[in-house]
Each structure stands twice: as C-alpha cells, then as structure tokens.
C-alpha cells in the first residue's frame, strides 16, 4: 500500500509552547482525510509542516515516500496547498497568476493548458480579468486552479470553506470530488462537521497537539468525540 503521507512522532515547539506533541499518522493514497479540532489544536501547524512551510522540531515526515527534511523541493512538487488565503497576486489576471506559478513549478504553461484549468474552475471567460476585481469565491477558484496546476499527488486544504457562499462551496466540493476521482489524496481541515464528513473516507480529531481519534468516516464515535471535545470545549 503506497502511502501519500506518513508522519512519525512529529513535534513542533514554539519556545516553551508545544503546538504538536507527537503526531504519528499514515495516509494511504486515494484517501480523503478530514482533520477536525478546536482552534489551537494544531491542525494548521500539522498541515503547514506537511506542506514544508514549517520545519518540525522533531520527528520524521514523508510525502509520497519523500523525506521532507532531506528533499523539501522534491516533496513540494507532490504537494498542493490551499488555505483561506489563496496566495495569488491581486494585481495580476487569473491566467497571469497561473502562468507565473507554472514557471515556478516547471509545469507546462501553454495558454491552452491554462485555459483548460480555468475552464475546470469555471473562470474561462474571466481569464484576463485582474483578480482584484474578483469576489472571494472567484479568488478561491483561482487558488484551486493554482493548487492543481502542477498535478500534485497530495492536496492539503486548510479551512478552505471560510468566507465562501453556497455556490462557491458547491463548486469547491465538486472540485474535491474530481480530485479524489483522479486518484489523488486529500487532507482537509475544517470546523464544519457536515462539510468535513461529506466526502471523507477517514476522520482524525486533534486536541492539544495530539491525535485523539482516528476512525473511518461513518464511525458514530466521530460525532460523539466532536461534540464532547470541540462543541463543549467551545462553550467552556
């Protein structure tokens, strides 16, 4: 079984504060994993380490079999990362943004390919419009196109539903379904229980820097733990 992501005892400390206190998980290829947790549980930190944006204090991390500490650039070619920030330049057009990132990734930056990508996210007609004039939902679509342009095997999404209207949410879900159908692996963090469970094959719940539950998506224990830790925790 090929593993898309494999972490062993990943720790991340910020001075005296422990954000991750030893996270060990294995995610096989093709899985859709949703990661739940309260604010400050360590979800974003874990995802950023997976995306090589942060270095772990200790532990080992492999993406598609590549050690991210030893070969971070090779690992980055396999990873697509999207958060509620889209990382696109607002003064460039949609197609200019994609062309730039293609050049960084060494991917095919031909107009036909880029227009095809924009077609997939429903932005073909606005390819040459400056992103500054786009709504949040449309900017998120450009962000998704950016994530996919180098054909990553592992797609990481950090609370991508934030600030999206219903239409944008539907579009995002359609894209995620396509990504999974293509055989890619998705790891998603969200506060939205229903969105998180919609397409997931596996669910992880984090609390205080550790995995407290790892279960198949339809396991009833998920809702119980979610309610106890996250909902109750929020009230407290």
């Amino acid at each position: 079984m090929k593993l898309a992501l494999e972490s062993e005892d990943i720790q991340k400390k910020f001075g005296h504060f422990t954000a991750l206190g030893g996270v060990t998980i294995q995610v096989p290829r093709g899985e859709f994993v949703t990661l739940f947790g309260r604010n400050g549980a360590g979800k974003t930190t874990f995802l950023k380490i997976a995306a090589t944006l942060m270095r772990p204090t200790d532990g080992s991390f492999r993406v598609e079999g590549i050690d991210i500490r030893k070969e971070p650039e090779r690992a980055r070619r396999q990873i697509g990362f999207l958060s509620h920030n889209t990382f696109i330049y607002r003064d460039l057009s949609a197609i200019e943004n994609l062309r730039f990132f293609c050049r960084l990734y060494g991917a095919d930056s031909s107009d036909s390919r880029l227009m095809g990508l924009l077609e997939r996210v429903g932005l073909r007609r606005r390819a040459n419009d400056t992103v500054r004039n786009f709504s949040r939902g449309l900017q998120q679509r450009v962000g998704i196109a950016r994530v996919l342009l180098h054909d990553p095997q592992l797609v990481l999404l950090d609370e991508p539903y934030t600030g999206l209207d219903a239409q944008a949410v539907t579009m995002l879900n359609d894209m995620l379904d396509e990504i999974v159908k293509d055989g890619r692996t998705v790891i998603l963090t969200t506060h939205d229980l229903e969105q998180g469970l919609r397409a997931a094959t596996r669910v992880l719940i984090m609390d205080r820097g550790k995995i407290v539950l790892s279960a198949e998506a339809h396991d009833p224990e998920i809702r119980a733990t979610y309610s106890r830790l996250i909902v109750t925790g929020a009230r407290r």
Partner: protein
C-alpha cells in the same frame, strides 16, 4: 535560474500595472532633493560641497520606501507563502526579489539623477555618467541587504518602522563609499576612486552571498 527570471517577470508585470513602487520612490526622492535644496546652500560654491551627500540621502530614503513596497506586494494575500510552497530554492527566491528591487530602484534613481543635475548645477557630461555608474554599484549593495532586512521586518508588528532602523545602520558603509566616490567625481579628483568602489563591491559580494544562504531562516515560520 528559471524561477529567478519568473519572479522578476512577475514583479515587473505587477509594477507595470499598479506603478506603486517606482512612482512612490521617484516622488519621495525628488521631494527630499527639493527640501534639501531649499534648506542648504548646496551650489558647491560655499566651504563645503554637500551635493554628493544630498543625492545619496534622497536615494537612501527613496530606497527604503521601495523596499517597503516590495514587502507589501508579498504580504498581501500571503503571497509569500505561495512562493514558499513552490519547489524553489530559498536562495533563488532571494535573488529574484533582489533583482526586482534593483530594477525598480534604478529606474527611479536614474530619473532623479538628471533632476539633481539641474537643481545642483552639475553639467550633463561624463560626470553624470560616472555618477550613474556609482549609483548602480551603491544601489546593488543597498538592495542586497535591504531585501533580507525587509523580509525580517515583515515578521514584526511595526514593519515600516523597523526596516529603516535596521537598514540605515547596515548600509552606512554603502552610503559613505557612494558619497565619497560621487564627491570625487563632482570635484574632478578621481585619483583613488577605486578604493570606495572596491568597498561597494565587497559589500555587495558579502551580502549577496550571506543572504543567499541565510534567506531560508528568514522566510520559514
């Protein structure tokens, strides 16, 4: 090199569209020139010729403004993270940003220079060309360390305040040598001009090299 070229291309395209960096550097530099021209007898006829210093004060303050603009470009929408996600060596990322900053600074400065010549009674001859050459050397030193310092400042609460606090002390040798060399040219006393130019070159080499290797520590979270 391809990522470096892509980053330069992207920065130039954005600047072409919004014209924020060059225009702000240009106008601020000109304003400094004008204010100092009003404030001091800088015709060169008095006891002390301050023209060289005046020019480099204008360039320094304008340069810091340009670095702040460049920083904003990458902080908006967290675009720096997008760059860091790409399989690009952090040193190449640094070089791309230095090149962009250098281009914008030089465009503004090479427009300020003839205005300086008019206001400060400098003839449009070989001297101006020589000063343009010194400008290139000095600006390279300025942006080689300034690009790193602007990225460091980006992590702080008061980025626009911290950048000049760090940049000005670090680039004092650049300013000293550039002012010395410019003054030598203006006075037609160019014997020994190779020394300040060598120090400018040394500064650029040291900081381009050090920053290339150290940049990953600046950008990581």
């Amino acid at each position: 090199m391809k990522p470096v070229v892509a980053i330069i291309h992207k920065d130039v395209a954005i600047e072409f569209r919004n014209k924020e960096s060059i225009s702000s550097m240009l106008w601020f530099g000109l304003l400094v020139l004008v204010i100092f021209s009003f404030s001091f007898d800088s015709s060169g006829a008095g006891d002390v010729d301050i023209r060289a210093g005046l020019l480099w004060v204008a360039f320094s303050f304008a340069g810091i403004l340009g670095l702040n603009r460049s920083l904003s470009m990458e902080s908006d929408n967290d675009c720096l993270q997008g760059l860091l996600l790409a399989p690009v060596d952090r040193g190449d990322l640094y070089l791309g940003k230095v090149a962009g900053n250098l281009v914008f600074s030089l465009v503004a400065e090479l427009i300020i220079l003839p205005v300086f010549a008019v206001l400060q009674h400098v003839h449009f001859d070989w001297k101006l060309l020589a000063i343009a050459g010194i400008t290139v050397a000095g600006t390279l030193g300025f942006v080689s360390i300034g690009t790193t310092l602007s990225m460091i400042s980006a992590h702080t609460r008061m980025k626009e305040v911290i950048l000049p606090v760090l940049q000005i002390p670090m680039t004092l040798p650049v300013i000293l040598c550039a002012v010395t060399a410019t003054d030598m040219v203006l006075k037609n006393e160019t014997a020994g001009i190779s020394f300040p130019l060598s120090v400018l070159g040394l500064f650029s080499i040291v900081y381009l090299t050090a920053s290339y290797f150290i940049f990953e520590y600046v950008v990581e979270e």
